[in-house]
């Protein structure tokens, strides 16, 4: 009943769900191609998608070479922010007053404009990996922390009461009930943050880096090569999609009961 294999009906359902998105993206590309070819606009201003693709292929070594530092910064930064968010979420859950002390600080950290912060962080920490990791962590930390803290609080009151009556202490209650209750929130936060993470890394590179998609975009722009800028944008979009897909797969693996329960809910539409 709870088979984990990907059966044909699921695949068909997935394709049916993806179809509208594929069609609309296709239409945009076709319109863009027609406009770029027939309006007389210069390719140095707006290159056609076919040209972008062609140039991406020609420069694929350079693109790959620059994508790797971006991926590294994204993943390391995200891992750091995830660990920090997890540790702090537990502290906040066990010592409620901490929440009132810390949350305002984090909220302020979220209002800082990246455009201003990124060059400063690069100025302070140089062109290496550190400032990238810090910026990725900055943009992903708070959403993850909030998701986790909210998730703990979503624990059913009755479950907590029952566990206490069974003789469980706070730590037991946390492990047995609060942590698993937070999983749906955690994954919702993960899906949002992972997209922020890529953007954060690119921003940091844009502000100064030896290598990376961000600096590649900046250089291409300065050389009047919008086709290469767009090619790099395509690579970063693909990267984001892959990471997003990974979180979805991870969630399916981590929460097998959701699928067991979710037949009815799944038909209503994609899960948030």
């Amino acid at each position: 009943m709870a088979s984990s294999s990907f059966n044909p009906r699921q695949l068909a359902g997935f394709l049916a769900q993806a179809a509208p998105a594929v069609i609309s993206i296709g239409l945009v590309l076709v319109a863009w191609e027609l406009y770029a070819n027939h309006s007389g606009i210069k390719p140095t201003v707006l290159p056609a998608p076919s040209r972008v693709f062609e140039q991406a292929m020609l420069n694929r070594d350079a693109l790959l070479d620059n994508a790797i530092p971006t991926i590294r910064a994204t993943l390391i930064g995200f891992a750091c922010s995830l660990s920090a968010a997890f540790a702090l979420s537990m502290l906040v859950d066990f010592f409620q007053p901490l929440r009132r002390a810390l949350f305002p600080v984090f909220i302020v950290s979220q209002t800082l404009p990246l455009v201003a912060i990124a060059p400063l962080v690069v100025l302070w920490f140089g062109f290496g990996l550190t400032p990238k990791i810090m910026l990725v962590a900055l943009v992903t930390f708070f959403p993850m922390l909030v998701a986790l803290v909210q998730g703990y609080e979503a624990t059913e009151v009755e479950i907590g009461q029952m566990l206490r009556a069974m003789g469980a202490g706070r730590w037991r209650v946390f492990i047995l009930a609060r942590l698993p209750s937070a999983l749906p929130y955690f994954f919702a936060g993960l899906r949002i943050s992972i997209t922020y993470a890529v953007v954060g890394a690119i921003f940091a590179e844009y502000a100064g880096a030896a290598k990376g998609l961000g600096i590649y975009m900046l250089n291409a722009k300065n050389n009047f090569r919008p086709d290469l800028v767009l090619a790099a944008v395509g690579v970063s979009a693909a990267l984001t999609l892959v990471l997003f897909g990974l979180t979805v797969v991870l969630q399916r693996l981590a929460m097998p009961w959701e699928r067991a329960a979710g037949r009815r809910a799944a038909r209503k539409g994609p899960q948030a």
Binding site: A2, E156, E158, Q161, M162, A165, A260
Partner: protein, 255 residues
Amino acid sequence: MSRLELRHMRKAFGGLEVLADISLRVDAGEFVSILGPSGAGKSTLFQLLTGAEHGEGEMFFDGAPLDDHGRHFAFMPQRDALMPWRRILDNTTLGLEVQGLGRKAARTRVAPLFAEFGLAGFERHFPAQLSGGMRQRAALLRTVVQERDMLLLDEPFGALDALTRAAMQRWLEQMWRHHRWTALLITHDVREAVFLSDRIYVLSARPARVVREIQVPLPRPRDPTSAATRQAGVLEAEILDILLNLQPTKGHDHD
């Protein structure tokens, strides 16, 4: 000596007086019900017993003041409180795991009971894959397998449809005859209270006090086709009368 005895328990949440004066006792091997209107404070009483809340008054277990909460009671909350992420087998072993039993030992203790609880074959299912009645039986299994001195059951069948509820009541009565648990049951179903109990306490609306204590002298098994049915009917009518004639409270709440 009674197993459990409460003397003049009172409880208020802030300015809201919930329990005004509750005195009751439950003897060993006795099935006692608490019957009262919605919002009277019945669940609050269980919170006092399990130590989740503290009130005024005295509580005794086997003659000793009740202080070390949670050692005597196996508590089944008003909603089944099954963990969606645990398979049924692992839900039912929860109490044993908390008591420190290894997972394997806990499973071997619980597994033989699945047939008796009508859950055989569903050990590996998740709660969401079970019907309402099965979920309640799983929650009940999780409760009784803890082998505590006494069961606290908070409206175990309140959320079920009438047919399933009737079936579950018969099943529980039968189970109780085999196991003779000392049990305190909360309900607002008069028929359920009469069908299952040796004694019934009727509570007033909030702030709750005990308005009547009723013996249920019906023979067991409580066969619904026996001659005792008429006697049960008379008792039910009497209790319903008491409940309906409680002084009406302002802003009576339902939930």
